[in-house]
């Protein structure tokens, strides 16, 4: 177990900056998820931590020691690759034991640790097989087992579930959570899937364009996103954004008007972007947001309707089967004043107001 610190880390490939000044503290035993869209630099950050890349500027500290120039094997980190990177010519047992053999671990201890990992991941019956004879989920577990046997101070996961089917992914998420509970190790986990991020993380770091956008507990980020990007990235379907101006007790724009909580009165006249999660926006005959139904997603007990409004498509929730809804009908949507967030129209930063 160890804490990990990044200080002002920069990394570019050629003229193409990938990580642009990241500061991040990861506490010992945390399950930190790095999340962001493709190309945001999260995988590169993980490889910088593993020592597979060297950073151009800044410092990488593991357990308080600067590790910038340390080779991967000097960092005592375990990594699970997106492709699993299992050694195809070795059996599962040999794959698990490889790192220990390189360290010349005594035979008895080596066997004990391999068996322990195999038992933990339910691999006991597969130990003599080769990777080609395993299913995707089994390979995934071997890859995790390979990291476990070494008892590293930090685990690094690079999108480990992206090659699995949906059902298996859900199952593996649960196993990973149990594993973390059991090992209590520092785990750093990269994904672009916000559901994975929300469910696994003790803390979440959202990246975009090589910069850290916000870090915090998943629900804090969900409820109080620091900017429009974080607000839009977390949650599904994504948050609705409506460009308008703050008026008396409401924010209004072309063809819409939403009630605002009184704490925003000071902002009157300011150009803003209003953000409302689809879950909070209820489809109603009246409602401050008016539009024509473009598409309907019926999920059974509830559903989402896509309204074409003058400020773009807005997604609103409805209860029940929505049998009365028809594409092309004019509808409205409304929400409680408390669930409307405001972002600055220019900087797209959240506008924080004292409650």
């Amino acid at each position: 177990m160890a804490d990990v610190t990044l200080r002002g880390v920069h990394k570019a490939f050629g003229d193409n900056p990938i990580v642009r000044g990241v500061d991040l503290e990861i506490g010992s035993g945390e399950f930190m998820v790095l999340v962001g869209p493709s190309g945001c630099g999260k995988t590169t950050l993980l490889r910088l931590l593993a020592g597979l890349e060297q950073c151009d500027q800044g410092e990488v500290l593991i357990d308080g020691k600067v590790m910038n120039d340390a080779a991967p094997r000097e960092r005592n980190v375990g990594m699970v690759f997106q492709s699993y990177a299992l050694y195809p010519h070795m059996t599962v047992r040999e794959n698990l034991a490889f790192a220990l053999e390189l360290r010349k671990t005594p035979k008895a201890e080596l066997d004990a640790r391999v068996n322990e990992a195999a038992q933990m991941l339910e691999l006991e019956k597969l130990l003599e097989r080769r990777p080609k004879q395993l299913s995707g989920g089994q390979r995934q577990r071997v890859a995790i087992g390979r990291a476990i046997v070494r008892r590293p101070s930090v685990f690094l996961f690079d999108e480990p579930l992206s090659n699995l089917d949906a059902a298996l992914r859900v199952q593996m998420r649960g196993e990973l959570m149990r594993l973390h509970a059991r090992l209590q190790s520092t785990m750093i986990y990269v994904t672009h899937d916000q559901v994975e991020a929300m469910t696994l993380a003790t803390r979440l770091a959202v990246f975009n364009l090589g910069k850290l956008q916000q870090v915090g507990k998943p629900l804090d980020l969900y409820a109080r996103p620091a900017n429009k990007f974080v607000a839009g990235f977390l949650g599904s379907p994504g948050m609705n954004f409506l460009r308008g101006r703050v008026g008396k007790g409401a924010v209004a724009g072309d063809g819409f008007s939403l009630a605002l909580s009184p704490r925003y009165t000071a902002l009157e006249g300011r150009e803003v972007i209003a953000g409302v999660r689809p879950q909070a926006l209820t489809l109603s005959a009246q409602g401050g947001v008016r539009g024509e139904i473009e598409a309907i997603e019926r999920l059974g007990t509830e559903g989402y309707a896509y309204l074409r409004t003058k400020v773009g498509t807005v997604v609103a929730r409805f209860e029940g089967g929505g049998a009365e809804l028809k594409v092309g009908d004019a509808w409205g949507a409304a929400c409680e004043a408390a669930s409307v967030l405001l972002f600055d129209a220019a900087s797209e930063e959240a506008i924080a107001v004292q409650p």
């Binding site: 593993a50 094997r73 004879q133």
Partner: protein, 743 residues
């Protein structure tokens, strides 16, 4: 289709193939009968000599309307075997042109018509030596067309007056030699017995002991002649070392060799040098002239010709005065016919006259098969002495021993029945096994369209049968025969017994099978290890993602592979030359003494290995490169995180993952190298003393340089085959071990 139906279809297909073969064979036999009486002439002439021959045939046809003579040019290397095969069946030529070297054997085998009467019609026209060359068992078997021997070419700007005796020649040569400048007084292919024979006769030596006509080389005269030449090269340094035909020509054309011993063909290679040709000098020590070997090209008439009168008329016409004048003028031949030199155009030609004069005193080369056994042992003796490895008497004693082994008596004939019964039993057992083998359960589905399958397979199967299996079976069968004097005798296993017991040689001597096998194995292992390690090393370098101009390097490194291997072999052979080779020059710039590469086993073997490594590493590099590129990069990253150093990554990731691709390449490479004839034959030539010969080159020598012992050579080849068969069976087992691809 059922299994029974399949078998019936196979039988039908066999019947069709048999029928086709029969038709084909009968088509070959059914030749159209000649309308006019045709006289077929075989020859191996090229260029001007061919032109002259064709003009003469036209003249003959014009003068003899009843005949139609036709010429057919054959490649020289297949010529003798074609003659031996075609004449007994009556499909050969009526007249053919060949040198005297096989006259005895052909006369013995009844291929030739005697020509005494024809020669008697032209008394005094031919030198006695030329007629002697064509005699066997008291009869004359051909009419001499042209005479070939070496003589002395002198560069007139360096040698105003040609030397009369060897004292003068040596004094002159010493004056004109400056080894520092690469200038020599004398040059000839001293390592070749054809050239050396002149000195042997000059010192009073003879090659055969009569009356048993056995080659004897370890004579005092032989030692004296060899000592004389050795001293010229190694003590007086008036001759270049390791002189090849090409080196001799280069030196003479560059005015760096004042006197050269060579034949009439050399005149065409001289450019820009004012020269004359004179007879070889008198050997001062004995007072005898140095008499070169005389080769006589003759017109021979086939014993099975159906137009013997016409054929003999044509042969007489070709040696007649007028025809000889034309052959001399157009074909530039040193014609044998004396009266042709009365023509001012021929008699006034100094080159032709000089060679004709030399021919008068030349020694006709023996025309019996025994002569064919002399070349290799004598050449080895010459090379050993001229490179300073052995003293002349030691070298000739060794050559004699070698000759005795080559001319070993025929083993007693054996009865073929035990072996035939064994073979028949084996075939029977095999066919029973094939019939009783369980049929695969999915066979009907696999073979449901047997007829079409057989139709598609037949052409390939027939070609393989004709091109591979039949020659192979004949080769193996030959191993049970002894070939001598043109006859094959069944001798059972005695060839194998002789080889495996190393009957004539201790197993530590180069001519023993076991010594050669050991050399072959060392050769194969050394090569494969070097090919794989260099190839793999270069492939690892080329994989480096930061390397620029990768494509250029890759192409350059594959070039050695793209060049035909005999060309590479000859280039390296030239580079290993002690005096003029690039490697000696390189050593000299490093301040090192030049190495005489082919006089010691270690250096000679190394030279072979270096050459073959140059040829062999690109293949392994290409194979490794392909296999390396298929190893995912993230395996290395995973290993790095797991704590593997670069070396551990190579050992635990790269090597095991290369194995499936590299192993077949190694097996293939080892078989290729085991049988790499070209390099051994062209680079070291087996020097010193046959020590660097491998099994294939040794088999070749038994067949073509040692009295045509085809059976013995076939037994060698069969042993090579069995050895490689065992090797591939062994490696197949290793290769079948589970690999990641197979899993």
């Amino acid at each position: 289709m059922t299994r029974v139906g399949g078998v019936a279809a196979v039988k039908r297909a066999i019947a069709i193939v048999t029928l086709a073969c029969a038709l084909f064979a009968s088509g070959v036999r059914a030749e159209a009968p000649p309308e006019k009486t045709r006289i077929l002439v075989w020859h191996a002439y090229r260029a001007a000599e061919e032109t002259a021959l064709l003009m003469l045939i036209d003249q003959f046809n014009a003068a003899h309307p009843e005949y139609r003579a036709e010429a057919l040019a054959l490649p020289y290397d297949v010529y003798p075997s074609k003659l031996s095969a075609a004449i007994p069946t009556g499909h050969g030529p009526d007249v053919f042109i060949f040198a005297q070297e096989r006259v005895s054997a052909w006369a013995r085998d009844g291929l030739l018509s005697p020509m005494d009467a024809d020669a008697a019609m032209m008394p005094g026209e031919f030198p006695e030596a030329a007629l002697d060359a064509l005699r066997s068992k008291g009869a004359l078997w051909g009419l001499p067309l042209s005479l070939k021997s070496v003589a002395l070419y002198v560069n007139k700007s360096l040698v105003p007056v040609a030397p009369v005796n060897t004292d003068e020649m040596v004094a002159l040569a010493q004056k004109l030699t400056d080894p520092a400048q690469g200038r020599f007084g004398l040059a000839w292919e001293a390592g070749d017995f054809y050239h050396h024979a002149s000195w042997l006769s000059g010192f009073g030596g003879k090659l055969f002991k009569e009356p048993e006509h056995r080659p004897v080389v370890d004579t005092p005269e032989g030692v004296a002649a060899l000592t004389f030449v050795r001293d010229l090269m190694r003590k007086k340094h008036v001759m270049p070392e390791e002189p090849s035909a090409q080196l001799v020509a280069t030196l003479f054309n560059a005015n760096r060799a004042a006197m050269v011993i060579n034949g009439p063909w050399f005149a065409g290679e001289i450019h820009g040098v004012d020269y004359e040709v004179v007879s070889l000098p008198i050997v001062s020590a004995t007072g005898l002239p140095a008499r070169p070997l005389l080769t006589v090209e003759a017109a021979l008439v086939s014993a099975t010709s159906e137009v013997k009168d016409g054929a003999r008329a044509l042969a007489r016409f070709l040696v007649s005065k007028d025809a000889s004048i034309l052959r001399a003028k157009i074909g530039r031949q040193v014609v044998a016919t004396r009266s042709a030199y009365d023509d001012p155009g021929v008699g006034g030609d100094t080159l032709l006259r000089a060679f004709r004069k030399q021919a008068e005193s030349a020694v006709p080369m023996d025309n019996t098969p025994a002569m064919l056994t002399v070349w290799e042992p004598y050449k080895r003796a010459l090379t050993a002495v001229l490179s300073g490895l052995l003293e002349p008497d030691e070298a000739l004693a060794q050559a004699q021993r070698r000759l005795n082994a080559i001319a070993k008596p025929m083993p007693p004939p054996a009865s073929p029945w035990p072996l035939l019964l064994l073979a028949a039993g084996g075939i029977l057992a095999l066919s029973i096994w094939i019939r009783r083998r369980p049929v695969r359960p999915d066979a009907p589905a696999l073979y449901h369209d047997v007829r079409r399958a057989i139709a598609y397979c037949t052409p390939a199967a027939a070609s393989i049968l004709v091109l591979v299996f039949i020659p192979f079976a004949i080769g193996v069968g030959l191993a049970f025969f002894h070939h001598g004097e043109g006859r094959y005798t069944f001798v059972g296993l005695s060839n194998f017994v002789d080889i495996l017991t190393s009957r004539d040689y201790r197993i530590t001597e180069p001519m023993s099978f076991w010594f050669t096998l050991a050399v072959t194995l060392a050769w194969t292992v050394a090569n494969v290890v070097l090919h794989v390690s260099i190839g793999l090393f270069l492939a690892l370098l080329l994989r480096d993602p930061l390397l620029k101009f990768k494509g250029v390097y890759r192409v350059l490194l594959i070039v050695p592979w793209a060049v035909p291997n005999y060309i590479t072999a000859l280039v390296w052979k030239g580079m290993f030359h002690r005096q003029f080779g690039a490697i000696s020059a390189l050593l000299a710039t490093l301040g090192l003494e030049p190495v005489s590469w082919f006089t010691r086993f270690s250096t000679s073997f190394a030279a072979n290995v270096v050459t073959n490594t140059w040829l062999g590493f690109p293949f392994m590099m290409v194979v490794s490169l392909g296999a390396l590129q298929s190893i995912p990069q993230d395996l290395y990253e995973a290993a790095e995180v797991d704590g593997a150093s670069k070396w551990a990554q190579f050992r635990h990731i790269t090597l095991p993952l290369l194995r499936p691709a590299l192993l077949p390449a190694v097996i293939l490479g080892s078989v290729w190298t085991f049988n790499m004839f070209n390099i051994i034959y062209l680079v070291s030539g087996g020097e010193p003393g046959g020590a660097t010969d491998i099994l294939v080159s040794e088999a070749y020598r038994w067949a073509f340089q040692r009295n045509e012992q085809f059976g013995f050579a076939a037994a060698y080849s069969t042993l090579i085959f069995l050895f490689l068969l065992g090797w591939s069976a062994l490696t197949r087992r290793v290769a079948r071990e589970p690999s990641p691809e197979a899993a």
